[in-house]
């Protein structure tokens, strides 16, 4: 009986194995590099129907976050301002700017293209449907907007500053002291922990920012949970 497999096939299993391993390794590397939240989310900066500048409104004009995101400290969802919030000012200010056309279409009954339809803002930060995240639980306990959203006051166009992966959430849930700040400073995006310690450290009896975080954690009994049902239910 003839030899069914020719001689060159002897090395074939090895070759296949090497190929398979390298393909698998390549896929693994590619996934880690391209498909993780860090790679996919950070820096996401869609253009918005109105080129709203947080830098102008917050940094230059000094608006508080809560003027527009008015329910961030009472609700789970941090609301995007309704049309009439914008219209409060912009029926008087910059009312002829062509950039505000969508707002006029929404709010200005005298505007030629008025349709009363709300503006569709493009979502920048999105947690998956199976994640329950509550803004009020964080901002009322000394976690600042800035900890998750970065220096929004410096952004001309909002982008995602942090990766919002589960590992990233857990980093803080396991060591909240790194992010805690006095409740008065939660909405102050310019807050610098070192400056605060220099100014108030003596009165509070803390020397370093770490000590400040630990003191607040202790005093306020901040014990974030890390079990699944904290965010998934």
């Amino acid at each position: 009986m003839a030899n069914f497999f020719p001689r060159w096939t002897n090395l074939l299993p090895l070759k296949i194995a090497i190929c398979a391993v390298s393909v698998a390794a390549g896929v693994a590397l590619a996934v880690t590099y391209y498909a993780t939240p860090k790679a996919q989310n950070v820096g996401y900066q869609p253009s918005q129907p109105i080129p709203f500048s947080h830098k102008i409104h917050v940094d230059q004009l000094g608006l508080d976050c809560r003027y527009c995101h008015s329910f961030v400290d009472v609700a789970g969802h941090s609301n995007v301002p309704t049309g009439n919030t914008c219209w409060n000012c912009h029926q008087h200010v910059q009312k002829d700017s062509p950039k505000l056309a969508p707002l006029h279409r929404e709010m200005d009954v005298t505007y030629p293209g008025y349709d009363g339809k709300p503006i569709q803002w493009v979502r920048v930060h999105k947690s998956p449907d199976y994640v329950y995240f509550n803004h009020s639980a964080h901002v009322n306990r000394g976690v600042s907007c800035q900890s998750c959203h970065g220096r929004v006051d410096q952004m001309e166009v909002v982008y995602q500053a942090e990766n919002h992966s589960m590992g990233w959430c857990l980093e803080c849930h396991r060591a909240p002291e790194t992010k805690l700040r006095p409740l008065e400073e939660v909405f102050n995006l310019k807050y610098d922990a070192q400056d605060y310690v220099t100014k108030h450290g003596a009165a509070l009896g803390v020397k370093t920012t770490e000590e400040l975080g630990l003191k607040l954690k202790e005093q306020w009994q901040v014990k974030p949970k890390a079990s699944c049902a904290t965010c998934h239910h």
């Binding site: 329910f71 400290d73 309704t82 049309g83 009439n84 979502r123 306020w220 949970k225 079990s227 049902a229």
Partner: protein, 1118 residues
Amino acid sequence: MSKRILQHPEVPAGETTVSWRTVGQLEDTPSFRAWLTREFPRGAAEMSGDEDMETSRRSFLKLMGASTALAGFGMAACRRPETYIVPYAKAPEWVIPGKALYYASAMPRSGGATPLVVTTFEGRPTKVAPNTLHPDGSGTDAFAQASVLDLYSPSRSRTVLRGGQKANRADLDAVIATLAKDKAAKIGFVFGADDSPTRNRLSKELASKFSAAKFYQYEALTGESAAALGDGISLVPDFEKADVVVSLDCDFVGVDASFPIAAFSQRRKPEGNDYKGKPDTSRMNRLYAIEGTYSLTGGMADHRLRVAPSQVAAFAAQLASALGAGGNAASVAAGKEFNWIMALADDLKKAAGKSAVLVGPRQPAAVHQLALAINTTLGNLGKSVHAYQTGNTGLGTLASLKKDLDGGSVDTVIFLTPSNPVFDAPADLEFATSLSKAKLSIHLGARTDATAHAATWHIPAAHYLEQWSDARSSNGVYTVVQPMILPLYPDCVSELELLLALLSEDGKLLNGEGDKGAASPAYGAVRKTFEGIADATDTAWKKLLRDGFLAGSTYAKAAPAAKAATLSSVPAPTAQSLEVVFATDSSVFDGRWIDNGWLQEVPDPITKLAWDNAALISPKTAKELGLYEEIIELEPVNQTLSKITGDEVKNAPVHPDGESGNRRAPIIKVTVNGKTAELPVLVAFGQAENVIVLPVGYGQGYDKDDELGRDTSTSSHVGRVGANTGVNVYPLRTSSTPYFATGAKVEKTDKRYSLAVGQEHAAMYGRAIAREISTMSGDKGDFDAQLKNVKFQGSDAHAPPNVSLYKQENKPGEPLLSDTLHQWGMSIDLSSCSGCNACVIACQAENNIPIVGKEQLAKGREMHWIRMDRYFAIDKDNDFDPDSPELVPQPVACVQCESAPCETVCPVNATVHTEDGLNAMAYNRCIGTRYCANNCPYKARRFNYFDYNKRNPLIAHNLYKGPFGEKQVGEAPHLQRNPNVTVRMRGVMEKCTYCVQRLKDAKIRQKRGQKQEALVAGKDSTEMTVTTSTLRIPADSVKVACQEACPASAISFGNLLDADSKLRRIRSEKNEPVLDRNYDLLQYIGTRPRTSYLARVKNPNPKMPDAPFIGKATIHMA
């Protein structure tokens, strides 16, 4: 092959109680055994059993490999999809996106509105809960809980119909305008039996505008009590004052509920409702029930006598004569039953002025008169029973409407009743024929039912959550009905809006909104009524809207005179001349809920049958008629099993999808009143002999998918949910026999029909599962001894304490249950639980639980997180009535074991413990191995075999088409979803998590207190020290959905670490029993459950002949 070996200890020899769930278990059929020992019914875990339909593991892998490869190529084009945030243009008042908003409203219904608090999310009503401020607010029943689904129902009527065909709204408007201008119109208005002050006011105005108008009241099953007591008079017991309650065929905790029962249930607890007192039997009431078939009330009764409904009158007469209230001294023959009645009479005499005798609404007038005479003689009236004059007076009946239609004094009919007279009126009235004589008929209804098709015009009705109205609760408290949302469909009209259009000059029908965005005209009408009752200030009106009711308002007292009852003696039924009972159904009521998936899918509390009705027959009568063997033989079987065991199984079902698990019941032919109906038959325990119970309301329409290929001419009368369910037995019912009919015959047929019966699978085994004790001294000692012994029933007397092999630590030194603020626990009081299913449906509404349809249910794939177990038990020595077992309901959901068997077997850690003692499910992590369900001794876990939430399970074979199947029909079903609970997909395990979303919400709200304290103190936050009292939720301030809905306050939920919590009087901080009645389910397994139970207490009268056998129904399942 059995997956599990049962190792539960055998029941000891001295035990006299025999307990069972189903007839198959009682008879111990081989097929039942096989069914019992399986974790899942055979085939439940398989895609199919047939060769050609098989999707084997291998072909699955092939397909998966191919699709993964494709996905790899497809990924290259993967980009983050753009999603949008769309805020309001103008912010509505009060609405905070993402936060629930609560409004007080009420569900109008016959016998008194159910006061509610409605949860809305961004304007969508998602859930109803009882209004606890309301004096008549006493929980909700299953109907109230399920009513929210009707709002979004795909089968809801949404367009105007003319002669059953889609019509123009403008044409209808013209008809109404013409009618409104015709002051001589001979209109007959048919109202429902609810009492709405505004409607009553408007009907007076209508009467003066339309001089020839007549007014009628019709609901199919409201009965004859008003005829006996006087026009518009109702009797409402005050259970707080009633020490002895007698139910003459009155299922007041179940389908005949028309008054608050909270006080009744609370008086079933010997420690008092809040468990503050020492156990004291004088706190307890005593319930006697005389009824034909088991009802929930009968299940609660301390003494129950099973009597054919036709014979109840004789017992009432005997009782009345023994109490000197008329009646007939010789209507019950001497014997056991005579002694029973006489002992009851003695007990009532002792409780004169502190008792209540209640009659089922559909018993004949004579029985109502007897009961009134008894209540009057005992001096109960005005004390423990109140007679009220309701506002529903001067209304004609359906029979008088028929007469008026035939005689021509009414030629225009406007149907506003929730009933469906063309379908459910007594057959001999031939109402449809009379209706066709009308020149014009307008039907306002939520469904396109038979009456909608028979009427000239059908107008889609607004749901009660979409309209302004008002109602009286059972004690006459003025209660407002507020809209939560504008009608979902623009043509939906409310009752008041239609009446107001007819009252207006131009007859313009304004619905939803008034002119130019103004409020609906009904708003003005309700406000005007209110101002006529209370003061006209804005404050009073706002308080009404906030509280939902007008404090201090009540019905005027009435003084009904006891008339001498004219008794006609009906011969007792025999096997040759059976008695047929037309029973109110616990799922569809009189047929109006037929298109409600939640109600259809929840198993009947007694029979455990879902999606159908069946003729119920007692085992003995079934034997006499030669049906019993057939029913037993056809107990749960499946073809796969028969292939393996080689047993020839008669009529083994071959399901089109190749799966098994269907149960086939023989079909019988019932003939009575000259009409016949063919319907499947089931054995019902504790039912009177020679009585056949036929639940009404089903069989409204069949389509081409019907198993028996029945007539499809009425298929448009029902939606997808109600189609092909059950058999219509209304044609058997006549106006002289509205409730029971005698002289019925039964014939066997060779047909079979599949029925979905719950509780035969996924059930627990073990000893002393549900425990019961008696207040009477007996062979188990006196009450105190029995109380002390609750914890030691079953194996708990001798099983050594379990030692955990696991260190209860997360990491070294970090205990598992580390939360020092909250540790959650629950306790379910079997003494007040009646098994009414309100919790099951409340849970379904709260937790986005899908329905799975009849076929899936038959395979044991139900998704209900709460399983309402129902057991029967009888003392072997019972010689009073050995065929009348006790009924014990027991709701079981996940008990949140501290040492949870499910957690240790999950390969992916998808089910893990939280710090505060919940056994959590991370759905997004679950890969669906089902090991956890396998290892759960309580069978509390549910698996999504299909994507029930996405694919419509009600279309035949739809689920098996996978992604090609049709999606859920309708535009709106997703609007009912609770946004804080994940909607689970296929392949995911789920179960009760103590409404973790509510707990989270409460905790987060509590944390805000820190900031408020800082603000109040005027201190810097850095100087603040937060204490436990700031962060801990106030005792008993958070309620889980089942607890909130429970009309019997049987469920206590709370924080074990909070000494003020109600739960702490039952359970200690260490999760150990404190109250004597408290015990753990399957304690000897050592799971340390957080949900524990309180033993049922029966309060028998020692003088009663059956007293020694009461209170022994401790359930052993082996």
